[in-house]
């Protein structure tokens, strides 16, 4: 979707956007760089979801409509994550390198594995150990 200033025949530029909140759409304001005329695009929840369903970040990248992340928030997992398991910086860095959508699932499964192994900390060694057991 693009916005054109009719008077100037110039494409408007995105100025500001507001992430979608529960029950509402997302808002974006555009302004003509030539004459300064502004316009606000107010999307309804359907429109917001349709665009967000593409897996893109809305509102200048501030709001991810990651489909899997939001899915996990609304679904009961196979086994609840353990809140008492800590992650080292190195292990967290690995978690951050996998797609956002699978992080909650990966985190939950690894914490369960750590707990079953009697370990209170997830570090890179434990991830390698899990990889050797489950993924190679």
């Amino acid at each position: 979707m693009k916005f054109l200033c009719i008077a100037c025949d110039e494409p408007m530029k995105l100025e500001e956007s507001t992430p979608p909140a529960d029950g509402a759409g997302f808002t974006a304001t555009f302004r003509c760089p030539a004459c300064g005329q502004g316009v606000a695009m107010l999307t309804n929840p359907w429109e917001t979801e349709v665009v967000g369903s593409l897996g893109v970040k809305l509102a200048n990248g501030r709001e991810s409509r990651c489909p899997m992340g939001s899915m996990i928030a609304g679904s009961r997992p196979a086994v609840a994550a353990d809140e008492g398991v800590a992650w080292t910086a190195g292990a967290l860095a690995r978690l951050e390198r996998i797609p956002e959508m699978v992080r909650p699932m990966a985190r939950e499964g690894i914490e369960r594995y750590a707990k079953n192994a009697g370990r209170g900390v997830v570090d890179e060694a434990l991830l390698e150990e899990a990889r050797a057991v489950f993924a190679s």
């Binding site: 916005f3 979801e49 897996g55 489909p67 899915m71 939950e108």
Partner: protein, 293 residues
């Protein structure tokens, strides 16, 4: 006044660029996969998942490196069939590590991370209106799974598709021209009609559009009931239907032992007509894909 294509860029939202980047990321993740084969039908209940895991094991027995992506997000079955239910997904140095079964197959299935009786739910600002966006979001999830896993070097990545002729077409377009298709049917008029529609959908619209997917052939599943006691194969359906206009890769008789093996997440019995048929289908597939065109 300028038109849409006269304006370079999208005013700052970068939505198109993000979608393009996601597709490129998927292509990079699949670069080491030699053959991308979707097991589809259009019809539900014909045994796509059983054929998928059976084909995967038969291909592996032929020395192929094989993985499965369970594309049925709402009704995932591969985790159970492959014996990887509740097996954790491990973050590696270069992405999500591909979960493996005890016998070495790679299997990524939502059934590993969702509860046994848990429906797939999405959070949304458009509560109660999932008909508007849910289909698109599920396809996006599929694309992200394809892009987010370290598939590594594989000979075959088999994609176990959900039912629905429209879903078959949508996944074909998501995967692009690299993907080939194997259709699964049962010898009933109802199933044949639905599968024929999927075949037609994949063939393109006949008005210049390229085919959405290359169909390698079809597997006729539940082609009779194999009695272990007397060894006879008796018909399950009243009449033989006309074959589909693509190669028949194999006819697999219904075998309760194969069904039990799938439910139990264990390999099927090696010496049965069903196993023989799956082996035939795997060899046909190899012959088709490995023969220079």
């Amino acid at each position: 006044m300028k038109g849409y294509r006269d304006i370079v860029g999208d005013g700052g939202s970068q939505i198109v660029a993000q979608v393009v980047a996601a597709r490129q990321s998927m292509a990079r993740a699949l670069a080491g996969v030699r053959h991308l084969v979707a097991i589809a039908s259009g019809k539900g209940g014909v045994g796509k998942s059983t054929v998928t895991i059976g084909l995967a094991r038969a291909l592996a027995a032929e020395g192929q490196r094989v993985a499965i992506l369970d594309c049925d997000l709402n009704g995932p079955t591969q985790a159970q069939m492959a014996g990887v239910r509740e097996q954790p997904w491990v973050p590696g140095e270069e992405g999500l590590e591909l979960p493996r079964t005890a016998d070495g197959l790679g299997v990524l299935s939502m059934g590993s991370v969702l509860g046994r009786e848990t429906a797939l739910r999405f959070d949304a600002v458009s509560h109660g209106d999932e008909q508007v966006w849910r289909g698109t979001r599920e396809l996006t999830v599929l694309g992200q799974l394809l892009a987010g896993v370290r598939w590594g070097a594989l000979d075959f990545l088999l994609l176990d598709l959900p039912p629905g002729a429209e879903r078959t077409l949508q996944v074909a377009q998501l995967l692009g021209p690299r993907a080939a298709f194997v259709l699964v049917t049962v010898p009933s008029a109802v199933a044949r009609e639905v599968v024929a529609r999927s075949l037609d959908a994949l063939a393109g619209d006949g008005e210049g559009a390229a085919p959405a997917g290359r169909v390698l052939g079809y597997v006729e599943n539940m082609a009779g009931y194999w009695c272990r006691d007397c060894g006879a194969v008796r018909p399950l359906f009243p009449a033989t239907e006309a074959p589909l206009p693509v190669p028949l890769l194999a006819s697999i008789p219904f075998d309760p032992a194969l069904a039990a093996a799938c439910d139990g997440g264990s390999p099927p019995v090696a010496d049965s007509p069903a196993s023989d048929a799956l082996r035939t289908a795997a060899r046909q597939l190899l012959a088709t894909l490995e023969t220079p065109s």
